[in-house]
Symmetry: D2
Subunit: 273 residues, 4 copies
Amino acid sequence: MTSETPKAYWTSSVSDIAPEDIYVRGYPLRSLIGTLPFSAITVLMIRGKLPTPGEARMMDVILSSILDYALHKSGTVAARCVVSVNPQMTAGLGAGVLAAGEHALSPENTGRFIVEAHKAWKASGETMDAFAAKTVERLRAEKARVPGFGHQVFRGIDPRAQALRDEAVAGGVWNEIGEVYEAIHRAFKVAANKPDLVINDVGMIACILAGMGYSPQEMAGIAILSTFPGLIAHISEEMGSGVRNRIVPDETAHYPRARHDLKADMAKAGWKA
Amino acid sequence: MTSETPKAYWTSSVSDIAPEDIYVRGYPLRSLIGTLPFSAITVLMIRGKLPTPGEARMMDVILSSILDYALHKSGTVAARCVVSVNPQMTAGLGAGVLAAGEHALSPENTGRFIVEAHKAWKASGETMDAFAAKTVERLRAEKARVPGFGHQVFRGIDPRAQALRDEAVAGGVWNEIGEVYEAIHRAFKVAANKPDLVINDVGMIACILAGMGYSPQEMAGIAILSTFPGLIAHISEEMGSGVRNRIVPDETAHYPRARHDLKADMAKAGWKA
Amino acid sequence: MTSETPKAYWTSSVSDIAPEDIYVRGYPLRSLIGTLPFSAITVLMIRGKLPTPGEARMMDVILSSILDYALHKSGTVAARCVVSVNPQMTAGLGAGVLAAGEHALSPENTGRFIVEAHKAWKASGETMDAFAAKTVERLRAEKARVPGFGHQVFRGIDPRAQALRDEAVAGGVWNEIGEVYEAIHRAFKVAANKPDLVINDVGMIACILAGMGYSPQEMAGIAILSTFPGLIAHISEEMGSGVRNRIVPDETAHYPRARHDLKADMAKAGWKA
Amino acid sequence: MTSETPKAYWTSSVSDIAPEDIYVRGYPLRSLIGTLPFSAITVLMIRGKLPTPGEARMMDVILSSILDYALHKSGTVAARCVVSVNPQMTAGLGAGVLAAGEHALSPENTGRFIVEAHKAWKASGETMDAFAAKTVERLRAEKARVPGFGHQVFRGIDPRAQALRDEAVAGGVWNEIGEVYEAIHRAFKVAANKPDLVINDVGMIACILAGMGYSPQEMAGIAILSTFPGLIAHISEEMGSGVRNRIVPDETAHYPRARHDLKADMAKAGWKA
């Protein structure tokens, strides 16, 4: 509990409670309220260090850039289904936050690729372009996808990614980590002969967050945080809809209707009557 | 940890770990495996007491009586949506078990009604039928629904409920608590002039579980346990389907497409340019 | 999907997807990014309407006023336990958001009381003070607690609540709903002869959010949102701690160690050997 | 919905609803209730095929072999923490089932190793022992752990694993997949010169379930199912304990209490006063 008990089973530096106030990352909670915007506090909480205005602004922009995706977001559908049966905000949020991962929403895999690429470059002693060319060669030989590249519509530039990058440069948070990723992107366009291939918005978010020091898992958390107000809105809309027990309407479902005889099958499987 | 430390922060009688074995409700785990069927162990775990064969059989029958409800079960849809993005069995199960409550799956509310009705009868000193008549009169004056009564199709008797009741009588677990509920059912049919109104299967499950001593919240847990193998099956089927990001197809969704002008609205709301 | 299909199974006004952009509550996502702070967007998402600067500022202050509570917050402990076994950010968040409710974190019950009190006053046709006096009389007769009153330490004024109220007045979001709650507070202090009883911070948050039109369930969501960055920080700290399988240390646990004989008890319970 | 709509967005073969009954894997639900034990139905649900008595018995034994682990199980602690704040059975279960994974409870990783080893052996065309020797050589070169080997206490034989294996042989579900795993185990004991190294219980469960055709993710689900009655019991015990807001007692926690000056740090970080 105090510095006299360093061998305690639990240790936490996120906040601590004193008689006069709660200290959040060492700052009195009361001094923070109304002084720093919530997005700046988000940085303080996760990174453990007071952000610069540029870092705070960058987080604000990133938090505002995912938000919601109508009923084309699996977590929203899951959350709404849950509260249609169990009308509790917490239950809906619990289901909704689980729906980020390998196939959507999470910049985690992209972030992991970028963090590892940067480390490998530092260890390589090579120029960025030489390293990028070799990396791309290896990835193509392994037929591996580079996460964060490509978009269904955008060619040449993804305007959302470009806006994020502009913010990062303006806020002073663009650095070497982004440069490595862009070097790989340049090398990839050449090697794959795809001069119009873009870095997409998830790629750019992962890239900027990696540059700011966030771990890939923290990136997942931040992406989910961005969608949290929308999740609250959807859950609230669902609970107000009057619909109970959201299901899959039969028009969109196919049930291959096999029919079996239990008695006959049990006899065949060796069950005694 | 031992009986010398009764003031410990946590206390649990569910199981304890000794060097030679884990003791589950006081019985060595190794002695249980293969000796008692899982449904009997379920009773032992939850009620804390070795069941009779009749109690174990009753639990087995109840666990087998919900199981699955195709894609007409909100929790199944939620679980499948989650794993279509985040293909982890645990994530799917986490979402699925949240979807039981006020509007479906859970016998909790019915169980609460039955437990309280039985207590009130005991306290009343009245005959069961007199108590039931007064209870029904009061409920009707309050325009309150009696949970567990009525079915869309079945009239006179719900065959599923009847089969469960027969098991309860045969297993020696039918008792006074069920009798009170049935007395209320009889009085209600007369007062409402609905001679064909049935006690449905959820009503009967709640009634039998109440008679066996389960709390309403434990009834919710048992109902979810019944659906757990089906949930595993659906999650596994979904992860094998190759579909990513389950959404609501546009054909079944309506989006009222309001369009607003941000700049104009900000000016009106008092934001400085 | 369009206004031609108003009878679609699902309806949502939170956002919709057009070829050129995603529209969030009717505003193009790209126009929002970097224009409105995340806390303002939070209001837009949940309330469906562009906030005034005062409403946005109020939300920012409320989001900054809970944040974290060290290891004295059950949801934090739950989240850390989960990721000590299953090191996934989503799994930790899923557990953490479930731990808000009746006994902590959530202003939901307080919010419900305030919303209902305000409605009852409107319906009563009485002066606020007369209504408040009667309400307090009734609550005291029912021995009901008034949620949001009282604090372990603060007497006369809770400085956190006072600061929140000052913000609400300054931001133009303080209104009749807060007045009704304060009238009840005044009447309660007199009737209970507790002149120093405070409205605490949860009471004030619920009161302000009610005045801004949030539903009690939305208040729960907002409280959880305030703690979300801290939750990410704790999960990240836990995954970096190297501890696997967080448990309850034996020093803080008591296991009443009953021991039973399975064979003997089975025979007694009627199981055949 | 019918075989005329094979292109429906959703497809499911787990169950389907007909006017007369629900068909579970093609069998009428009403015919299953009371006919097959719940553990047999578990197999039917997950594997989609009526089990033999030996397969059903094996599942029953496996479901009975994990059950609970006092307060030394992270998921139990998480579930109890959640309901100490939000006393809902579903919320507790939601948190509890998330705590299975890489570091505990789940046979998933072991199962994946076994399934892949078996496939690799089939593809190799080698004898089992030759394949095993090469596999062990490779694993040792990569300094990879073999999941499922070793125990803190047991030497030579893990009696729990042995009992499970005996059941598998007796039930006719022991096969080639288990043989491959045991061949690797033999080869490993020789190569590592650890003649007493055991296959532990998780290794054996994974090995038997792999032999019965379960996927690694399904194994995780089955392990969680085994603990489900215990989870219900713990949640119920917690809600009955009267303790609110389970936290980490200060005696077992260490908070490195850094203190910072917000104004000074903001100035340094470039925030304007």
